[in-house]
């Protein structure tokens, strides 16, 4: 266990401390990691969710990775802390995809730790060609602009894809991400499968609020299509939205509370595929539209779950080894992607914003 100075504060006025930045990570590193920092030689997989990194010195550090729902109670954090004490001297970390990792120096403890995690409901996996945890945003739990919930969809999708978290049998990695509005907190726009909350109705202008809460020039400048114009309503200055010009991005609401977007009937989810961040083989790229709209259907969003599972299954069956979703689609072409997945190609799939012509098929290369 690593001692940390704790606060003793009773009664005493304390000096206010600011701008100290994060604690230096060094004091949280496992002694083996500290010793071999920058001296790692190679790693190997010991099965789903278990890695072994070998240093030049011959030292080995073992990692056990488990999925978490990201939204955690302090009780679960304390449980993780206790597990870390019990199995690995108190050393743990989290990954950029919200998994928790325990860092062990004793390989004999891997299986007992794995068993204990699984019994407590935290699946071990997410490595190599598994589906790792879904990166996601706040949704209805804590954000004002959410067009859908994040945690509920993630839970429902991962319940179905659980097998692929705990097994690494897919042709390549599948990175899934969810953002609950077009602000896209997180790298959803470069994911193998992106689940994106969308609005489909223009904002409602609250003329009574505009003069009180809005910087009108900022509001007008916020609209990517120039759909917002100054207007006088009932003799008072306000704005109007040219509805035909609105593509429901919600940026006006981001800068002005008087233009709410949320609409229970029309909000929903779109699905995007084929993006990637890694440079391995092909260059990083954006995800492309697969399904323009699926309804919000809480608590389990069956339409969304079905769509994602279908795409995963078709990919798993057809992609070649190492091919990511986008690379597989490159090889077979988009027409075949739509055919194999049974997803309908609609007018919404054809871009009509800036640079749209760059996405058109500009050759006679065609497959029949």
């Amino acid at each position: 266990m690593v001692p940390m100075e704790t606060t003793k504060v009773e009664g005493q006025p304390r000096k206010r401390i600011t701008d100290i930045g994060p604690p230096n990570f060094e004091k949280f590193l496992h002694p083996l990691i500290k010793k071999n920092y920058g001296q790692w030689k190679y790693h190997e997989s010991l099965g789903p969710g278990r890695l072994c990194h070998v240093a030049e010195s011959g030292d080995r550090i073992y990692t056990v990775r488990a999925g978490s729902p990201r939204l955690l109670s302090i009780h679960t954090i304390r449980y993780f802390a206790d597990l870390a004490d019990k199995y690995c001297g108190g050393y743990l970390r989290f990954t950029s995809r919200n998994n928790v990792e325990f860092l062990l120096d004793d390989p004999a403890r891997i299986e007992p730790l794995k068993k204990e995690l699984e019994q407590a409901g935290f699946p071990v996996g997410g490595t190599n060609n598994a589906i790792s945890n879904i990166v996601h945003t706040q949704g209805w739990v804590h954000c004002h602009s959410a067009a859908t919930d994040a945690s509920g969809i993630v839970k429902s999708v991962m319940d179905e894809l659980h097998y692929h978290f705990t097994h690494q049998e897919l042709p390549g990695k599948i990175r899934i991400a969810l953002a609950c509005c077009l602000n896209m907190c997180g790298a959803v726009h470069c994911s193998d499968i992106a689940i994106l909350g969308i609005h489909r109705q223009p904002p409602v202008v609250r003329h009574d609020l505009v003069p009180k809460v809005c910087e009108v020039p900022t509001l007008i400048a916020s609209c990517p299509t120039g759909a917002i114009r100054p207007a006088t309503v009932d003799g008072k200055p306000s704005v109007e939205v040219i509805e035909q010009q609105c593509m429901f991005c919600g940026n006006c609401f981001t800068v002005c509370p008087a233009l709410p977007m949320a609409n229970a009937e029309f909000d929903g989810v779109s699905i995007w595929v084929g993006g990637k961040v890694s440079n391995a083989r092909s260059a990083p790229r954006f995800s492309k539209l697969a399904i323009p709209y699926l309804p919000n259907n809480p608590p389990r969003w069956p339409e969304v779950v079905k769509a994602v599972v279908n795409i995963v299954e078709v990919y798993a069956k057809n992609a070649r080894k190492f091919e990511r979703m986008g690379e597989w689609i490159d090889r077979i072409g988009w027409p075949k992607f739509f055919k194999l997945t049974g997803i309908e190609f609609t007018r919404y799939h054809i871009d009509d914003f800036r640079f749209a012509p760059l996405t058109f098929a500009r050759s006679t290369h065609i497959r029949f």
Partner: protein
């Protein structure tokens, strides 16, 4: 809608304590709101910042960017935080009665 009361005067404010009615601003109002933003006394330096922000807003309809505020008032950013501990967006804009700034989430 909440109200903020001070010395028998009461103002309609939102949950962050921003004055709702843009029409009723004057220096006395600014002073009343100063108490909510850890500003003990409105000095000349405070007025310089508040007046600059307010005049900029009246002219352009938006709050000035932070660096413009610094350049025009001659205060460094950390000096502005010393004057208005809750910051230019929350503190100074509130006193100058601008619409609540909407930083991104």
């Amino acid at each position: 809608m909440a109200t903020f009361e001070v010395d028998g005067r009461s103002y309609e404010v939102d949950e962050d304590g921003f004055l709702q009615d843009p029409g009723i601003w004057n220096e006395a109002v600014a002073k009343d709101f100063a108490t909510t933003e850890s500003v003990a006394e409105m000095t000349e330096a405070h007025w310089k910042v508040v007046n600059y922000i307010r005049n900029y807003y009246l002219q352009f309809g938006i709050a000035p960017m932070v660096r413009k505020l610094c350049k025009e008032t001659g205060f460094k950013l950390n000096q502005i935080y010393e004057l208005f501990p809750s910051g230019p967006a929350k503190g100074a804009c509130k006193l100058a009665r601008l619409p609540k700034p909407t930083g991104c989430v």
